[in-house]
Every structure is written in C-alpha cells, then in structure tokens.
C-alpha cells in the first residue's frame, strides 16, 4: 500500500508528541515531513526557566535530537519557515522555496510572545522569553550589563526575573495590575509572593504602565512610564502574555478565533488539516500548559491512525511557579464565583496560605502558598469529582491529616536530598528519578515507573513520585484526566466495566474484540483486571480464565522468592481445635515443611512447599476438615476476632462467633483487591477492627460497623458507617458493602482508597439512605456466593487442573 503523506508545520513539544503517539500506533501509515522555524530539534520549553537560572543546560532539556527523526524515517527541515499553504493543491511552501505535498497536515505553530506596541520596542536588548535564542540573549546580557527590567508579573515574567537575578543582574519587575500573577492568585496570596520575592532581592513597580523604551546608541537604556517616572534598563524582557500563532492558518483561509478553531478530534474547518498545541482554540479555550497539549496530541494521533475512538473534551489545569525556594500552586477555578464557597487558611507571618474553593460539595479550585505538597492530592480530588463533604473540616490540613500515619507520599519532595530514598521497595533515590526525568525526557508517572522502577511495586510512594515529577517539570506536569486501563486500550477501567455490564460480555476475547484491544491477548496488567470484571459482573455466565490470573490465584498458594509456595488453611474466625492443630502439625511433619509461622490474620502458614506437592498437602488437610484460606487471593482473606463475651470479663458480645458467621458467609468471594475483616468484643477493640476493610466493634446495645480501614503501607483508620443491633443486620451490611465494593471499585483498589475516591457520603447514601438498594446488593452477594463458596484445594487434590502441578516431562540424568 502506498503511504499517505503527513506534513507537520512546527517542531515543538505538542507536535512532536503527536508524532510519537502516532508512530506507536501505526509506524507505517505515513511518510512524515516536519518543518521547524527554529534551528533546534525538539526541546523541553518548560525547562527554559531552570536553564536561565543556571540549574540545567540546553543539552539537558533536549527531548528528541536529530537522530530521533532519522531513526523514525521523518524528514526534518530545520530553520525553514512555512509561509503559505496551498489548500487546492495540498502543498505547503517555505520562505526559501522548499515545498512539500500533503494528504494530512498538522499545524503546530505554537504561540508568539506579545510585544507591547510602544516606541522603542525594536531596540537592541528588548526581547521576549520564549525560546533558546531568548535565553541565550539573557545569559549574554547578564554577563555584560547591570539593569534588567521584566515587564509582566505573571508566571513567565517572574521566572525570567528570578533567573536574571540569580545571574547577578539588578532586576525590576513592572506590572500593570496591582497584584502579581493575578491570573493564578488571589490578592492575599499575591502579596505574600511579592514579599517573598522582595526578600530574594527582586524589585517591583506595581500599577505602572509602560509608555516608551528609551534607547542610547541603538540599545535600550531605560523604561519610561505613563506617570513620567523612569527605570534604568540595559535589558528589557517582555513577558506580558502569548498569542496563538495563527498567521499561516489565517492566510490559508482557515477559520480562527483567538486560535485556530478545532473540534474534539483536533481537526480544523478543513478536515485534512489538524491543529494542535498552543496555536489552537478548543471550545473557546487556548491552552499554554503542557499537560493539555499532550492530551490533545494523544487524540490527534489516534485520529490520524484511523482508530477514531479518542476525543478531547478540554482539561482542568494546574500551575506551579518554578522559582526555587518558593512553593506556589494553583488549579482550577481558584477565584470562585456564584454558588461556590471558600475554605481559607491564612498565616501571612508564617508564610502559609491555602484557599480551597468548593461547589456542590466538590473541590473546584485551589491556591496553595508556602506549602504546595498537597497540590497533587487536591488536583486529584478535583479531577475525580470526589464528594468532600465528609472531609471538609480536615480538608485544608492536607492528606496527611486524614488519619494517615504512613508515608503516604506527602513528605516534602522539594526538601528531599538527591540521596534520599523515595521508593523503599526498589531502592530508588530522588536523584535517580530527577535524572531520569531530565535526561530521558519523561513526563508521566508511567514513564518514571518503567524507567526507574520507583512506585512500581507496592505503590505507596506514588504520590511522592508525582510530586517529584511536578517539581522537576514545574507545575506543567499533571496526571491525565482519566487514565486508560493500560497501553492495550484507550478506555478507562470504568468504561471497560460498563461495557462488560451493558453489552453482557462474558469472556476476555469478547471484551477485546468489542472494545478493539490493541494487542490480541492484552498484557499482564489488563488481563487479570478484565477477568475480575467479568466474573464479578457475570458470576454465573462468565468464564474464569485462569491463564489471566496471577500465579498465586492460579496455583491457590503464595509463591515465595525461591519458587516454592506457602499454604495457609482457613481457621474460621481465628478459632482453632485440637484436631485442626494436629492436622496441621501432621501435615508439616509428613511433607517436611521447613518453617511455620502464625500470620497476622490469626492463621498458620506452612512455608517451603514444592508446587508438585501442593495437591497432596491440600488433600491431606482436606481429609481432616481444613479448607483453603485464600491467603493468596484478591479475595476475602481473614476475619480476625478477639475472644469476646464468652471468656473476656470486658466483652459485651460474642465476637468470635460473629467472626465465624461472617467468614462462613463471605469465604471464597473474589474482590478487586484483598479484603480483610475483624470483630472486636468491646470498644477496647483488641481485634484492631478499625484498620480493616470492614470492621465490627461490639457495643452494649449491638454493633458498630466501620469501613475503609487499612493497616498496610498506608495506614488509614476506618470511617464509622453506622450502629446496628442484630447479628442478621451485621451480616446484611457486611455482604452489601462487599458487593458494592466488588461491583464498583477498580481492580487492585483497596477499600481505603476507594472510599476516599468516592467519598464516605456516597457509601452512606448507598448503604444507609437506600435500604432497598442495600438489601438488593446483599442478595446479589449471596447469589454469587452460591458459585464461589467452594474449596479449590479439595478439587485440586482430586485432580482438577493437574497440568498446573505436574512437570511436562522429567528428563533423567
């Protein structure tokens, strides 16, 4: 097949990201030609500020060098500015006469800095802050001259001022409005920022309007204001905003309105011509931050690859000032308006200011000054639309104050030293991560995970890694709005599950065909998730695909580092009989089990069993009345109990029997992640029920029910759900809660993050306000238990799945 011709005008981050995404999807569909007006290949424009500040070099911030284009068969024209698009003949023409024909054209012309229309704006020493050329000019000026004036006290202007100050210049920032960064900050935050920057040695002239730039021998010498005053200036940096660069598009008759107007698939009014990046106006908004541009790139590539399933629907953005030593973060609708309310924490002397804007019990905007480490968390709450009404009295104090005493990622990423360890599982230090982000040009959490292994194991440092990303890249990093399930699809977990339910899909091949999976048998990340969604949505109809389960669930035992397995029989409610103890002891002796341990869940673990021996061990235990403890599964694990009123002088209810009843009802059930319960016999709570997924605490008048606790990497105390009186109610609420969790939480999401994501108010609305719904959920739970309540060990001891446990062949020596 003859390849189509794809031409791209503009060689910046958004455009090149589009090509990268496209090549990933379909490397052979197009012959690609790129025209860049700058003499450089693709570099990371976000990091120009650190280059100016002397913290990084140009080499550090290159994203794709010339070799990259060559390796991918892309014809690259540098230093060539396209001046004309001939839409009739589908050709573009450059200034120097070079031309190229296209079948599809991408306009990625970016934006131009706005230059004030004042006399003297063409003098030497008057520049903008936009590209490598400007940075070179500033560095050069700082070596030869003394006085710099930056016009514009926005994000870019302050970063430029800071950089010039660090390079030894005397810097004055001129700003027309009364407050700095008035687009990102409210007045109080802005005054705090100004004070901080003044302490760093910057000078400010507020409310001043520039009238003229005064020259001396062709070079700028001073800035004169409307009020007649003057400021000396050997260098003037204009940072008063950017304008989408639409000149080329307009000259070709393509509809523009403060940007090239595009639809949700990034097409202009000429459907052969796409536009992307800062030059674009999408639903009336032009974006200047990298995260939305990358989201556009993904959609554009998807459409060019003829997949046609992605749509760009706009972005919520956040910004962060990249001035070392100043913590400033803002996101969303931080000014507020009709129907919004503000939560404020203001400590001007201590240098701390936080403002959160709520609307309909949801977070819609945030300004953080002094401490911005909770920015990522607030941004997540905004993106996911979490109902925060249950958190609102603690919301301002950050994620660490939600009863989390673990290292939930809220350490100060900025204050960490390079040698400080971030990922304790894989031994990755902050310096390793920063280096990988900078030298390999990483932008997303997934990139960092695969290159450094940080946050790739238990995930407890994910928040911290995100902070390091955001700190290294500046505020321009933000997680994508809704993450696709994995690289095999563009659909999210929730979309895939909805499709399974609505279209009644009952097997993995069905799902993959219907939803156009990109790889015929997926990957180790999506297959276990799909299998779970299938069996939890259609317990009776779906086929449980063992090859898509992790080894522990396939082998019904826990794999150990040497490849042997451990065996944990179920001890109902943690109570144990003489016969059971004897059976376990006999098994250990007969099968020469090298080590035994009492688990945290009140059971006994037999270590070092060879896989081939598992069925025999299980058969031995089954003959003596013991069944699988599912200690290996994303499933109901244990119900831990204290002894309760049968023996304890404080006990008010029979907690042991309640634990046994709960375990008998729920064992064998598969859940999105492991699920643990506990029952305490009195409020002293010896069974530690308040760090379990579902915790029951006996009180004199009945039982208290708690949900969403966790005692693992990230400790979270449960939320109190309600109080009930009878045993039947405890069972009903436990079953209903498990069922709603099974049906709605994402695969590998424990109840703690799930409850935080959807909000306790939501859980209460389902569990308490809607009694019919609760009873129906309980009923669905019991129905699926008809199928899943059986002992997988006994079956396998009798020969089921024998291939799993026997070698294909033994070759004699």
């Amino acid at each position: 097949m003859k390849r189509m011709k794809l031409v791209m005008v503009g060689n910046g981050m958004a455009g090149v990201r589009t090509l990268e995404e496209l090549l990933k999807l379909t490397p052979d569909l197009y012959d690609i030609t790129v025209f860049g007006a700058e003499p450089y290949a693709n570099y990371n424009r976000i990091l120009l500020s650190p280059v100016l500040a002397g913290e990084q070099t140009i080499k550090d911030i290159m994203l794709n060098d010339v070799d990259w284009y060559e390796q991918n068969g892309i014809k690259l024209h540098l230093n060539k500015k396209i001046t004309r698009i001939d839409r009739n003949n589908r050709t573009v023409h450059a200034e120097d006469g070079t031309s190229a024909a296209y079948d599809r054209l991408i306009l990625a012309t970016g934006s131009n800095p706005f230059i004030l229309p004042v006399p003297g704006n063409d003098l030497d020493g008057v520049i903008s802050f936009r590209d490598i050329h400007d940075v070179d000019a500033m560095i050069d000026a700082s070596a030869k001259h003394k006085h710099a004036v930056v016009i514009g006290g926005g994000l870019l202007g302050l970063e430029a001022a800071n950089g010039l100050k660090l390079r030894g210049m005397d810097v004055t920032v001129v700003h027309l409005p009364e407050y700095l960064m008035e687009r990102q900050l409210d007045p109080i935050g802005s005054q705090m920022l100004q004070k901080n920057l003044e302490e760093k040695g910057l000078k400010f002239l507020m409310g001043k309007q520039t009238e003229q730039l005064i020259g001396k021998e062709g070079r700028v010498a001073a800035v004169r204001f409307k009020d007649g005053s003057e400021a000396p200036a050997d260098l003037v940096v204009m940072a008063v905003g950017i304008r989408p660069n639409t000149t080329l598009a307009e000259s070709a008759g393509i509809h523009c309105n403060r940007g090239i107007v595009v639809n949700d698939t990034m097409q202009t009014y000429d459907p052969r011509i796409y536009a992307i990046g800062e030059c674009v106006s999408h639903r009336g908004t032009a974006y200047g931050l990298v995260a939305p541009l990358f989201e556009m790139a993904k959609v554009c590539a998807n459409h060019l690859a003829e997949y046609g399933i992605g749509r760009y629907t706009g972005s919520v953005t956040s910004t962060k000032l990249k001035v070392t030593g100043i913590e400033l973060f803002s996101a969303g609708d931080y000014m507020g308006g009709e129907g919004t309310e503000d939560l404020l924490l203001s400590d001007p002397k201590g240098g701390l200011y936080k403002k959160l804007v709520l609307k309909d019990n949801k977070l819609v905007g945030a300004v953080l000054y002094g401490e911005s480490e909770d920015g990522a968390w607030y941004f997540k709450l905004m993106r996911e639309g979490t109902d925060v009404s249950a958190l609102r009295n603690r919301l301002l104090f950050g994620e660490t104050n939600l009863g989390d005493s673990g290292h939930g990622g809220q350490n100060r990423a900025a204050a960490m030293k390079d040698a400080d360890q971030v990922c304790d599982c894989n031994g990755v230090c902050k310096g390793d991560i920063v280096k990988a982000i900078v030298t390999k040009g990483l932008f997303t959490l997934d990139d960092v995970k695969s290159h450094t292994k940080a946050a790739a194991s238990c995930g407890s440092c994910t928040g911290l890694v995100e902070q390091i990303l955001s700190h290294t890249l500046g505020g321009e990093y933000s997680a994508p709005e809704a993450k696709p399930m994995c690289k095999c699809t563009d659909y999210t977990h929730d979309q895939v599950r909805a499709a399974i339910r609505e279209q009644k899909l009952t097997s993995i091949p069905d799902v993959m065909t219907k939803l156009e999976w990109k790889r015929p048998d997926g990957c180790p990340s999506c297959r276990p998730a799909l299998n779970y969604y299938l069996i939890s949505s259609w317990p009776k109809e779906a086929r449980d695909d063992y090859q898509s389960r992790y080894i522990n669930e396939r082998a019904h035992a826990n794999i150990q580092k040497d490849g042997s397995y451990s065996v944990v029989p179920r001890l109902w409610g943690g109570s144990v009989s003489v016969d059971q103890l004897r059976a376990i002891a006999d098994a250990a002796e007969k099968f020469k089990v090298p080590e035994m341990k009492i688990t945290g869940g009140q059971r006994i673990d037999l270590f070092g069993v060879k896989k081939e021996e598992l069925p025999a061990v299980w058969g031995f235990l089954a003959d003596r009345g013991l069944v699988s403890g599912h200690a290996y599964g994303k499933a109901l694990r244990t119900v831990k109990t204290c002894v309760g009123s049968e023996w304890c002088r404080f006990g008010v209810q029979d907690s042991t029997q309640m634990g046994i009843d709960l375990e008998e009802m729920t064992w064998g059930s598969w859940t999105p992640h492991k699920f643990k319960m506990a029952v305490s016999g009195c409020p002293r709570n010896c069974a530690e029920a308040t760090i379990k997924d579902f915790g029951v605490v006996a009180i004199d008048s009945g039982w208290e029910l708690h949900v969403g606790g966790n005692g693992g990497v990230k400790v979270r105390a449960t939320d109190l759900l309600c109080r009930v009186t009878t045993r039947e109610e405890v069972l009903e609420y436990a079953g209903a809660f498990m069922q709603i969790y099974r049906e709605e939480a994402r695969y590998l999401e424990r109840t703690a993050p799930w409850v935080e994501r959807v909000g306790l108010a939501y859980i209460k609305s389902r569990m308490l306000d809607d009694a019919e719904g609760r009873k129906a959920a309980y009923q669905r739970f019991l129905e699926s238990q008809d199928i899943y309540k059986f002992d997988p060990w006994a079956e396998r001891a009798k020969g089921v799945d024998q291939h799993e446990f026997t070698p294909l062949k033994v070759v004699a020596g």
């Binding site: 290159h451 194991s457 790889r519 048998d521 990957c523 180790p524 490849g563 291939h803 294909l808 070759v811």
Partner: protein, 120 residues
C-alpha cells in the same frame, strides 16, 4: 556416521509432550539434570523454551503471565521475550533460550541452549 555421533543426533531432540498438554498463554516445566526449562505456548500456538529463571532474581518464568511473545515474571514483573530470552527494555538481562520444534502436534526440545546469552 559413527555410533557416537548418531547417538548425539538422536538424543539432541527430546520429545517432551504435545502442544495440547500446554494451556494457551500458559507454560509447563521440563525437569532436566541441568535445571528446569519452561516450555511456553502462546495464543497463536507458537511454542518457546527458556531457562526457568528470570535474569533479575531467578523467579520461575513458567509461572508468569504470557502475552504476545512475552512473559511477565511472577516475582517482580520483569518482561522477558519468549523468542530470544532477552529482558524487554528498559530492563537488561536474558534467560537462556532453547531450541524447540513442533512436529505433528508433538513438542521436541533441545537441551543445548541457543547462543548469545551468558546466563545459561
């Protein structure tokens, strides 16, 4: 042909079972005096054999999840290419790969590893 050479020719390919003995997207182990060898079958019914030892921490690759021409190690999720034994970038390392041949549904395995991997 000498008797010794003839014997070598015969013993080099060992019949280890049938393709259908191995589940699709699954693996079985062949135990040999030189250690375990994992024999994989993917969705397209291609058969591969690797030393049952991940180059990372020695995890048994036969217990991993198989997709395309790749297996993900069950211990720490390294991805190993089934046809070459090489770890998928950015990880580095390899598990020795062994020649396999399928003939009339039967799987034949050679115990002499393919060249190119120090981790035999």
């Amino acid at each position: 042909m000498t008797a010794v050479a003839e014997k070598a020719m015969q013993t080099d390919w060992i019949e280890v079972g049938t393709v259908s003995d191995i589940p699709k997207d699954g693996a079985r182990v062949v135990k040999t005096p030189l250690g375990d060898i994992a024999v994989f079958r993917n969705l397209q019914d291609e058969v591969f054999a690797l030393r049952d030892q991940c180059p990372h921490k020695g995890g048994p690759l036969s217990q991993g999840i198989i997709y395309g021409k790749t297996v993900a190690c069950p211990l720490h999720n390294w991805n190993i290419a089934l046809d070459t034994g090489m770890a998928v970038a950015p990880d580095e390392g390899c598990a020795a790969s062994f020649p396999v041949r399928v003939d009339g549904g039967k799987v034949f395995l050679s115990l002499t590893p393919s060249e190119g991997c120090p981790n035999t």
